[in-house]
């Protein structure tokens, strides 16, 4: 690698000395990556051709009057190239571009976030990078189709034209929780990501109380749901608080099968409340029944 860099530097310095009056190699201005082509030469004696580009450096021996042929595997990294044909004390110089193949071969698809609450407008972003078979970014505009298929069967679709090899869309999260398949598609090439759409904050918490064993009161919530009707995931903490004559008892209980249940000391006249995060539920004044 270091040798290539040194060779590139040496060739660039050589170029600086070459006069514009010297005959030029007739390379095509643009060459598609992975295509075969040939270049005629006009040297009178044996010569050497050097080609330097991004990630590539080639050396070819050229016989007088011979065409220089390049195969499909010779030049495949897109970018600006420099060719120098040296024969004795004379040199010929050419510059040309290798462009990405016109056929997209793969998509790198970034979908963010991988998890978000339901019903968020433009909450999901998808960015697709279009590459050819050699891993070159396909710079010409392409029409990329994005589709967000929800777990319930519904789908959102949007198309985006790529600019400089990148296509970008924003999607809304669905109102129903579940794992959505987020797909970017261009011709026969596609990439899929999973976006987990999770319930939002509890919309309301309703709690009931009934006497338990041994001077305890059993507290239980109704199934806790968000404002779109999705059941709040198990493990979500519901905080129960009982206040009685200046004493406070609290317990943080995770939802289990959609409900939270616990026991606190049964004190007649105690005020009992429930909350989850910043959402407050109902209050109960315990009267022993």
């Amino acid at each position: 690698m270091t040798a290539r860099i040194l060779l590139s530097c040496a060739l660039v310095m050589m170029l600086a000395h070459l006069s514009a009056a010297q005959p030029e190699l007739r390379f095509p201005a643009k060459v598609e990556a992975g295509t075969a082509f040939s270049v005629p030469t006009s040297s009178s004696g044996a010569a050497t051709l050097y080609i330097v580009g991004p990630g590539d450096a080639l050396e070819r021996k050229v016989q007088p009057g011979e065409e220089i042929s390049f195969g499909t595997d010779d030049l495949h990294n897109a970018g600006h190239y420099l060719a120098v044909l040296t024969s004795g004390s004379s040199s010929q110089v050419a510059q040309f571009d290798v462009i990405a193949s016109h056929q997209p071969a793969s998509l790198s698809f970034l979908a963010k976030p991988s998890r978000l609450p339901v019903n968020r407008e433009n909450g999901i972003s998808g960015v697709a990078y279009i590459f050819d078979i050699f891993g070159n970014l396909v710079m010409k505009p392409e029409d990329v189709a994005f589709q967000l298929a929800e777990a319930t069967g519904g789908a959102q679709s949007r198309n985006a034209i790529s600019h400089d090899g990148v296509a970008f869309v924003q999607m809304n999260s669905a109102t129903k929780a579940g794992a959505a398949q987020f797909q970017a598609k261009l011709d026969s090439v596609h990439a899929t990501r999973v976006v987990e759409q999770v319930p939002g904050d509890p919309c309301s918490i309703r709690m009931t109380a009934h006497p338990g064993a041994g001077q305890r009161v059993v507290l239980q919530t109704d199934p806790v749901r968000d404002c779109n009707g999705n059941p709040v995931p198990d493990g979500t903490i519901v905080s129960f608080t009982e206040t009685y004559e200046g004493r406070v008892s609290t317990v943080d209980v995770p939802l289990k099968r959609g409900v939270a249940q616990t026991e606190l000391p049964a004190e007649n006249g105690a005020l009992i409340s429930a909350a989850a995060g910043v959402v407050l539920g109902n209050e109960i004044r315990w009267s022993g029944r």
């Binding site: 790198s108 698809f109 970034l110 979908a111 963010k112 976030p113 991988s114 998890r115 990078y129 990439a191 990501r193 999770v198 319930p199 904050d201 509890p202 709040v232 995931p233 198990d234 493990g235 979500t236 903490i237 519901v238 200046g246 004493r247 406070v248 008892s249 609290t250 317990v251 943080d252 209980v253 995770p254 289990k256 616990t262 026991e263 606190l264 000391p265 989850a276 995060g277 910043v278």
Partner: protein, 416 residues
Amino acid sequence: MSADFLNTDPRNNDPRNNDPRDQDPRDVYSENADPGNAGRKYKGVVFGLILLVATLALVAVGTLWPNQEDSGVAEPNAKFIISASSPQDAVNNVLQQIARREWDSAYELLGNKSEFSETEFKSDLMGEYGSLRSYAMLNQFDLQPLHATADQAVVRAHLLWSSVVGTFEDSRDLRVVKNGRRWEVNWPIVKEVRVPPQVIPVNYLRWDVIYRGPEDDWGAQDVEAPHVRIVAMHPVDRAGEVILMGELLNEDVVPAFVTVKAALLDHNGAALGTEDAFDKISHVLLPKQVTPFRIDFHNVRMSQVDSVRMQPSSNLVPASADPVIGIESQKLNPLPDASLTGQLVNQSGQVVNVAHVIATFYDGGGQIVWVADQYPSRALLPGTPVPFQISLPADISNKAKTFRVVSTTYISSRIQ
């Protein structure tokens, strides 16, 4: 040597008897041959005798009336046990043995050995189930005589234990009884509660995480870090240092390991100090759970601070929704011993080795005025209340109107 110091016959000491003609010719080189030299010798012996008598007298005084100072430093290397001739001596002896973890020696010094076994005595002091006591050392103790008669006394012992999370105090009122000429301590045993053998079904949720692997495409998404939010923050200037207090909410549906880092900035935007909430925070937050946090900046004054930069961070971690800990009978106690007391009740089936209680105190307007914590020294057994007490500074106790308490648990089987 002819000088006979045991000769008490006055005639032998009569100067008139010092007739040179009575002198034995063989004593020509004896001290008596030089009256001045013999006098010096006599004075030296008397001085030696005085020193001997004084030393013996001091030893006797020290033994009969030993130092009765009412505090002590537990000295693991101390070997000497003075005779328990006073209630304080007796208590001191027992506590010194406890400090050295010489359980059998301490137990032997007790007067009520018949009431409990040495194992129960050891469990009382060291705890069981890998609690904080199991790894604590008695570092210091203070003795306070409460009551004394000729044959019994009550001494309050304030025990200061050192542990990996700081010190904790234990106070015992020890009844000391005179047994013959010796005082003996009746240890107020606190027997560890035993949970009867049983099966407690537990089916709480557990989260496991599969992270992105090195072989995945760079575009493949990783699991999203939990979304957390600071819902309250209040800086205070206290004793010449800045203290940041606040609350952090896990607003996601997955558990989070959270930390809060803060930087104090001066008028030029330069950092005056950067700290994080090390142990004044509950690091693992379940969905919709809120933790208080407190960050202390030593050596920074509020007058220097222009702005504060807060950096809450979260990581998705495997976690379990159990155990559930009830925090019951929480009560704010007024001055002079301002504190928040309550008791922890383990509502799950697994033994909690070490619990951590963090309390947030609010003023009448709902503003956070203090965050404090405590590690109860005993393990939490299923359904067994364990008391806790969080001390409050006097000035804070006047402001604190409401409070909120959370607990964190450490279970040794989950620490790999």
